[in-house]
Amino acid sequence: MGKTKIKGTAIKKSGGEKVFEVVVYALATLFCIYCLFPFAIILGSSFETEANFATYGFPIIPKDFTVQAYKVVLGDAQIFRAYGVTIFTTVAGTLFSMLLTITMAYPLSLKKVKFRNVITFFVYFTMLFGGGLVPTYLLIARTLGLKDNIMVLILPVAFGAWNMFLMRNFFNGIPHELSESAYMDGANDFQILWKIILPVSIPGIATLSLFYALGYWNQWFNAMLYIDNSKLFPLQYLLMRMLRNADAMKEMARSTGIAAGEIPTNSLRMATTVVAIGPIIFLYPYVQKYFTSGLTVGAIKG
């Protein structure tokens, strides 16, 4: 008796099934349009001649294509400084965050560490209760004197308890046999972590790093509270100021020699946004799977 192939489409699709499929694809497509539509506006408007905004509004396809807004954005040092600040804080911050996270998550994943529950609770409690904005502000601004210091974008936000528990879950999945044999060969815990555990945990590390990196890249709150020096503004805060504050744009336009009355406010805002989120759009398809898997592990393993 040979292999009998059962065709998956042996049961014919009824008319109702076809309608169902159309509805499904329609809903999915509609939602995708909903998601992409704002980006289309941002992109299109960044290339539109400023004068057209008052008459025609914000376009997806510009009526009079121009790169003037980009000339202003890229002609002024500010966007590059902001990029510098953001890249530095993202890279240095992610490294520091991963250091704090891994060194805490690994011992807490080991049953033999008897004080595990005490330390876990110590960390977990911070997720339940905190001092609040005022005490934190006083600590950072006055006690630690971190105002107008680039480290204020890294130090106070470096450790995420939720992220650490996610990392611990990843470590929980590593079989003990791996480290056991190394112990018998005389390795110490640091060596085991570095040489055995970490290489095996690359997916988890990638996921966590991306979570942190995204947080650093998008942050603006601490900049708003603690930084007045425009040379230290990160990208997102720069965007916020451009939206709120007419002066922010005048500064930018000044270096390109444009008169105050002729600043292409609308297209300038959009062009700056495009320049600011460009890297994310570019990198995103490559890193998306890490976020998806990380969230799944975290949610299902709790």
Binding site: F20, V24, L27, A28, F31, C32, Y34, L36, P38, I41, I42, S45, A54, G57, F58, T101, T103, M104, P107, K112, K114, F115, I119, V123, Y124, T126, F129, G130, G131, G132, V134, P135, T136, L139, R142, L155, F159, M164, N188, D189, F190, L214, N218, W220, Q236, Y237, L239, L243, R244, N266, R269, T273, A276, I280, Y284, Q288, F291, T292, T296, G302
Partner: protein, 322 residues
């Protein structure tokens, strides 16, 4: 048999009578591991625990010169001040109301989308759709504020569409009534796709044999969804909802401040506890009231978390946090 029993007893005894010396022995035995945790413990002490003692400010008439210790006690006066503040009810209401809207619409939308995504059999289109749907989550609220100016601003797309079709100037940025709707639509834009991840993972984990059996029995895809998928998702959905309810007293500062900022004309429907706490610090310079408010928020939050965790345990015993 006897050996394991005695060992188990010995272990238990070791744990129970760890004591001071036993504790030190434990620290020494795994000194490298405990040393590893030290930097993070220090960080947590500085940035999480040290500020906790700052809640004392809520009970004091704080002045920068005197510092926390020097400032005089005023008992509950800051709290009285807070609760007598004319808009305080509105702030609490907005916080809870907006979160309820977000949770309800978010859950429905995420489940609906997850069901849709799972039904897309074409693998390429499926990947594309999910990639696009999740992407808005990665963009900060400042970017959202930017494109909103292009949609509901003076020359915005929505504004012009309304006025071109005979409507009056909707004045989005000065009419508070619009904003619960706007905020919900934006929250969905940003989070509905991201929220599908957990549901899609759950659905794809379901045993396919049930669906096969149903199909053989002649059930349509729609019936399979309503009779099989949805009931199975109920537990996950309830769990996630309960978790969200635990945070219902916390407003989304990032979203609201980025979109509304200091636009006082919109406060009546958008001001939440967190934006109020921020304003009390930065503009009103009333540190006592600001601290009192966040302290109150933390206490309520604590109660909510314990309550919702208790409820969660009843639904799904394994999934609760503690």
């Amino acid at each position: 048999m006897k050996k394991t029993k005695t060992k188990a007893k010995a272990d238990k005894a070791y744990k129970e009578h760890l004591g001071f010396v036993g504790g030190l022995q434990e620290l020494w035995k795994h000194k490298m591991l405990y040393l590893m945790t030290l930097p993070t413990i220090i960080w947590v002490l500085i940035f999480c625990y040290y500020p906790m003692y700052g809640v004392l400010i809520a009970f004091k008439d704080f002045s920068y010169k005197e510092g926390i210790w020097g400032s005089p006690w005023v008992g509950l006066k800051n709290f009285q001040f807070l609760f007598n503040y004319k808009s305080v009810g509105r702030i609490f209401f907005n916080t809870i109301f907006l979160n309820v809207l977000f949770i309800a619409t978010g859950t429905i939308m995420s489940i609906l989308l997850a069901l849709v995504f799972v039904e897309i059999k074409n693998k390429v289109y499926n990947k594309i759709v999910q990639t696009i749907a999740i992407f808005p989550h990665f963009v900060s609220w400042t970017v959202v504020a930017m494109f909103m100016s292009g949609i509901i601003g003076g020359s915005g797309i929505m504004t012009r569409w309304i006025m071109d079709n005979g409507g009056a100037d909707p004045a989005f940025y000065t009419t508070p009534g619009w904003w619960p709707l706007i905020l919900v639509l934006l929250k969905l834009w940003q989070g509905a796709g991201y929220g599908t991840i957990v549901y899609v993972a759950a659905i794809t984990g379901f045993d396919q044999e049930m669906y096969e059996a149903a199909r053989v029995d002649g059930a349509t895809r729609l019936q399979q969804i309503t009779r099989i998928t949805l009931p199975l998702l109920k537990t996950t959905a309830i769990m996630l909802t309960i978790m969200s309810v635990g945070k219902i007293f916390n407003g989304d500062f990032g979203m609201i401040y980025a979109l509304i900022g200091d636009n006082a004309s919109l406060y009546s429907t958008t001001d939440v506890i967190d934006t109020f706490v921020y304003r009390a610090l930065r503009q009103l310079n009333n540190l006592g009231m600001s601290t009192a408010t966040s302290f109150f928020q933390s206490i309520v939050g604590l109660v909510l978390v314990f309550t919702t965790n208790f409820l969660a345990k009843k639904v799904e015993p394994d999934a609760a946090i503690f």
